[in-house]
Symmetry: C2
Subunit: 384 residues, 2 copies
């Protein structure tokens, strides 16, 4: 029997979202080249929006894999994936004007629900077959974070629980605009905890250009610095700020799935903990700032789930050690990003690299491999 494979890190830009991006001229936007044979360009990173690069070459080419669910289903079949938990890709709805946010969140989330329902019904009309015997979709919902108040976000979190195929929410690192240690987010954390909704925390904004030596140094290497380093470092900073601000003390039931195996959190957890124990500013060390009450290890073992999108055994071993076991580690692909640069119909090296790393890191541990590939996700997200 082939193992159950669930992809919990896989993105979509629904057609309505792509249309909205086409109407925009500032990041994020889609540009259609004058040459009708040339693919549209997707410009989502601020470092991509470089006026010295012709519009027709800016950003990255975007094809049907970003918005056509049939292409994703074909990708799943090619890689043996039974179930995908799809999520809106970055930058989500972060950039919307306050008055547009709620409408777009409802539109996107209703669209995700309809897409999942349609695919699942077609695959198994009576819903009688086991998960590993069919092709199914579930989704993480988008949040109206730019809405005029956190109350709008809370309402959407509660509404998502009424949509049968939604399994949590995806969020970037800016929160309501001031990062995830902003106390104005407390009602959001409270709603996520009360509704037992998993939060998929995902990077988008990277680091300021100067962290990489400025735009010239960045562009010398294409997307490598912002994507390979900026993304995971952003995630690490965001979740560390949440931790330092005591979010996990106030909301001990919060469940967060960190993209890219936690950015670098598993590797740096020990250093973070050591720096906290040596920080004179915290009350525990004689200072006047409360500081976090729980250890970072406790939070990693209780509140945090990690995807297995880390492209190597070194990262996986840190992830599983920091998480206190492989049952918090979940396979993902990051589709449709990192497509093969060769032929369209081949296996994706970005996916096979992660498959190979999982098999190599847990060699001889069949149950662990099965857990990471799909059983953990099915259990944690209650897929059926």
């Amino acid at each position: 029997m082939a193992p159950l494979i669930v992809d919990i890190h896989t993105h979509v830009y629904p057609p309505a979202y792509m249309q909205m991006l086409r109407a925009r001229k500032t990041v994020p936007y889609v540009h259609d080249p004058a040459d009708a044979n040339a693919p549209p360009r997707l410009i989502i990173l601020s470092s991509d929006d470089d006026a010295s690069i012709p519009l027709d070459q800016r950003g990255r080419p975007v094809d049907a894999s970003y918005s056509n669910i049939e292409v994703k289903l074909a990708f799943m079949r090619r890689h043996g994936i039974n179930s995908s938990v799809i999520s809106l890709a970055n930058p989500w709805l972060d950039f919307l004007a306050p008055e547009e946010a709620q409408t777009w969140a409802e539109r996107i989330n209703d669209d995700l629900e309809a897409t999942c329902a349609g695919v699942n019904r077609a695959a198994d009309p009576e819903n009688t077959r086991a998960l590993h015997e069919k092709e199914t979709l579930y989704a993480f919902g988008a949040l109206p974070l730019s809405a005029p108040s956190a109350e709008v976000v809370v309402r959407e979190i509660r509404r998502l629980k009424t949509l049968p195929h939604l399994r949590g929410v995806i969020m970037g690192t800016t929160g309501l605009g001031k990062g995830l240690d902003d106390s104005r987010l407390d009602p959001v954390w409270k709603a996520l905890q009360e509704t037992d909704s998993l939060l998929f925390l995902h990077p988008h904004y990277g680091l300021p250009d100067e962290a990489f030596g400025g735009p010239e140094a960045i562009n010398r290497y294409g997307h490598v610095l912002p994507l390979a380093l900026g993304f995971p470092l952003e995630t690490t900073i965001a979740v560390t700020r949440m931790f330092l601000a005591g979010v996990f003390d106030r909301f001990p039931g919060l469940k967060i799935l960190l993209a890219h195996s936690g950015g670098t959190l598993p590797f740096l957890a020990g250093r973070i903990e050591s720096c906290i124990l040596h920080e004179r500013k915290f009350v525990a060390n004689g200072g006047d700032v409360p500081g976090p009450q729980r250890s970072v290890w406790d939070v990693l073992n209780t509140n945090i789930y990690l995807d297995a999108v880390v492209y190597g055994t070194a990262g996986l071993k840190a992830a599983v050690t920091a998480a206190g076991g492989a049952d918090r580690l979940l396979f993902g692909t990051d589709h449709p990003f990192f497509p093969p640069l060769g032929k369209d119909d081949e296996e994706w090296p970005s996916v096979t690299t992660n498959y190979k790393a999982i098999h190599a890191a847990f060699e001889g541990e069949g149950e662990t491999v099965a857990g990471v590939l799909g059983e953990n996700a099915a259990r944690i997200l209650k897929l059926k």
Copy 2:
């Protein structure tokens, strides 16, 4: 027989250097409070130089452990360390006016040599005892990176080879002012390769404040964000820029010891490699930029050494997996930073955490533990 223990990550500010800092009013500087009983303050991080904090409380208290070698020797005895490879602490000589750089580099390096020679002669006048039976010091030299030309740096690298206790050089991440992918550094890499000098790459500058949400967000948590995250992320970015610029292709014999187990390089190596393989800008993928010729794994297995200053088994497991074995992993303490906040005479938790992590990560592998604790350093640095 007690194992040989070598500390390759341990810093000093020689008295002459402290005097120089006392004469300065901009970062880095030392401030002596009006209250003669209060300890002097060391202000080395730009985030410490906050005008809203009274001078007497700015930065961190600095005691004799930073400049008095007897205090370091007592620290070594307390923790069972046989040999320390001392290095000037950050920010080294980076901030000096061009015309001062060479003089200060020679002064500091001659001082390090004299200190090591004096201690080693006192411990073993005839140099007949084995390394694990005595107390010895070796050193990494400082470089005059702000000198008017790279040639001055090259001359100091060559001169260091004539000083019997010098075992390589320590360097920050700015190089000649534009980062480590600056082609003007090629003569420096060439000199390091030709003289077979180990380069200890160490962070200081961290990340721009905005990466952490600005100065207010940073100061809320004391030094935690800049030290726990800014430092290792800076190292990761610096060495990745070197790698992307082909430094390890042009100088395949370069040997680099990365502070804090590589920042986060072991964890992110897979993602870096995957992003390179998917970067359309590189020649291998049809673009016009050469891109690195060797894989990041090859460089990690050939050119890079990692200290074991990572405060946990998760980080150590990633480090040893990425480095292709534990023989490139070297014990360190980061003394005199991260002192215990309690009594002066106790064991340092920052040190015992790393001892415990090494024993736990390599449980049942006595030879591996012995290698990481000291034998690797003795072999690689030719200590005797």
